[in-house]
């Protein structure tokens, strides 16, 4: 197999499966179950995960894989994110197999295909060494998620969510592109390595700073870091629950991967300029996210604010020097993905396509009606708080200790204060789950139905991942540390 094909293998498998799903969809009768297509999509994303593992073996044996004239660069770092994205997609697809009611079933095929196309774009973002490829990946993932956000067509909130996501997402893309254009102007190159070499030697540093700032704004929107977070609560509230689970984790992981690569490879010499900026963004995201979540009654909206806060915790890792920053950020991304996807899988199972249960009042006394689901949700909420023996605890622990090691003690203190603040709203939801329901909520509670097998699988997988990251963090951390030095090695090679 040529190196070009090998470097793109996971993306190729996803794309081909998505095309196959779209081709097979019209062959199914109108109103027939689309579950076979869903299973095909799951198989495809599992296949791409296996391909990523295969790439890992090759990278271990032969070193970094490059393809397509150096625009694609597959190293342990990008393979880590490939595996993460593939697992998020598998879980999301498992949770959405039974999501569509009979009258909406004919759209399910498109949904599965769009999830796969979006994942392709995200994987592209993490494995490209050229900003043109990053941009194309970003757009593939964004355009797919714009459509997915408005997938509950005909619902007024769905189209509102989609239009807000679309307008603000494209606005952010324009900033990102302008940043790339200024990078190109300052250095004459659009590859990350070329920009790094150019910025280190540039005689007009102002251009470079402006360029890095613009890229930071563009990616800040994508990871929903304050002050670029305004779209997040509205979009998450109106989008379908399984899609929110996907888009609050996978595209953010990809955008964080790009941010890590860009900041540490293209602009390492300016670190003392951008690190304080990142610290300010982190403080703003944590504080705004946690304060905003205190006021929410809608569960999805609450988790949206919590995702802003978690983007803030993750940004704290960026203040550390490179190997530490990369490994802690990778660990936090994985821990956050496991618990957040898990929480949204539970919400998907509870509220269904029509979003019957939305507010905290609706969820009151859930433990009596759906004990298993309530237990899972409680576990994910505990992990989001950062209770020991969960992935969330070690994520926060590593991030804050990284900040302390790199001289940002005040940032770690602000972060810890914020984690304390966050307990209030997570515990409010948690106590509601186990509270005695008021009489009127029992009256109009929907009839409980059994948990489907695929959704159960998704829940067990996310809960196991969250637990594993909390019990055996060292194993995963050593994996992410293997991801880190490879990027350092390249930096050294280029110098």
């Amino acid at each position: 197999m040529s190196t070009n094909l090998l470097a793109l293998l996971p993306e190729l498998i996803l794309t081909l499966t998505a095309i196959l799903v779209m081709l097979l969809e019209p062959l199914l009768a109108v109103g027939a179950s689309r579950k076979p297509l869903g299973w095909l999509a799951i198989l495809g994303s599992l296949g791409s995960g296996v391909a990523a593992l295969f790439q890992l073996r090759v990278v271990h044996a032969l070193g970094t894989l490059t393809g397509f004239y150096g625009t694609i660069q597959v190293d342990a770092f990008s393979i880590f994110f490939h595996l993460l994205i593939a697992s998020i997609v598998v879980t999301t697809l498992l949770a959405s197999l039974d999501y569509f009611p009979p009258d909406q079933i004919s759209h399910a095929g498109e949904y599965f295909a769009l999830v796969l196309f979006g994942a392709t774009g995200m994987m592209f973002m993490t494995s490209s060494a050229e900003l043109l490829m990053v941009f194309i990946g970003l757009e593939i993932s964004s355009i797919s998620t714009y459509i997915l956000a408005g997938f509950r067509k005909g619902r007024a909130t769905a189209s509102e969510s989609a239009i807000k996501y679309f307008l603000l997402g494209s606005f952010a893309t324009a900033f990102f592109l302008y940043g790339i254009a200024l990078c190109f102007g300052a250095t004459g190159s659009t590859t990350i390595a070329g920009i790094g070499a150019g910025l280190a030697a540039t005689k007009t540093p102002l251009f470079g700073w402006l360029a890095v700032g613009m890229v930071l704004i563009g990616l800040g929107f994508k990871v929903s870091a304050a002050p670029f977070h305004v779209w997040t609560p509205d979009v998450y509230q109106g989008a379908p629950a399984p899609v929110v689970g996907l888009m609050s984790t996978a595209p953010k992981a990809a955008a964080f991967a790009v941010l890590l690569r860009f900041l540490f490879e293209a602009a390492p010499t300016d670190r003392h300029h951008w690190a304080p900026l990142i610290a300010i963004m982190a403080v703003a995201s944590m504080t705004i996210g946690n304060l905003g979540a205190l006021l929410q009654s809608d569960a999805k909206r609450l988790l949206a604010y919590s995702s802003i806060a978690h983007a803030g915790y993750l940004l704290v890792a960026f203040t550390a020097p490179e190997p530490l920053a990369v490994s802690t950020a990778c660990f936090y991304t994985a821990a956050y993905a496991a618990m957040n996807v898990g929480a949204f899988v539970v919400l998907t199972q509870l509220s269904g396509f029509d979003e019957r249960l939305r507010t905290i009042d609706d969820l009151t006394g859930l433990a009596l009606r759906r004990p298993a689901l309530a237990a899972f949700l409680a576990f994910f909420l505990l992990s989001l708080i950062g209770i020991p023996f969960t992935g969330g605890f070690f994520g926060k622990f590593y991030v804050f200790s990284a900040a302390v090691h790199s001289g940002y003690t005040w940032l770690a203190i602000v972060g810890l204060a914020n984690s304390g603040l966050a307990c209030f709203y997570y515990l409010r939801l948690l106590t509601a789950l186990y509270a005695r329901p008021t009489t009127d909520t029992i009256g109009d509670a929907p009839t409980p139905h059994c948990l489907s097998i695929p959704a159960g699988l998704a829940l067990i997988a996310t809960a196991a991942a969250t637990l594993l990251l909390g019990i055996l963090p060292n194993r995963i951390l050593s994996l992410t540390q293997r991801a880190a030095p490879s990027t350092v090695a390249q930096c050294v090679m280029q110098k």
Binding site: S159, A181, G238
Partner: protein, 102 residues
Amino acid sequence: MITVPIAYYLILAAVLFCIGIAAFLIKRNVITIFMSIELMLNAVNLTFVAFAHVWRQISGQIFVFFVMVVAAAEAAVGLAIIIALFRTRRTLNVDEVDMLKN
């Protein structure tokens, strides 16, 4: 032959980009907001072409092609979303699209 200095192109592009931002923030019609994003993308394209000329590098010009292709794809999806919005709300004014809020 007198050539136009490169700074002129860059300043024009920056002004266009700022007009795009201002229009995005001020305008209330969804389609006009969408147009202001396109204006920002075209400002980026102008910057790329100008810098491609300075550096004698073809990669800046190639970037412009991809920006145009992606903008077209984005327009297709965006207009579809706008139609879906109009069907459910009967309005294109963003101030009236406010069901989702705190």
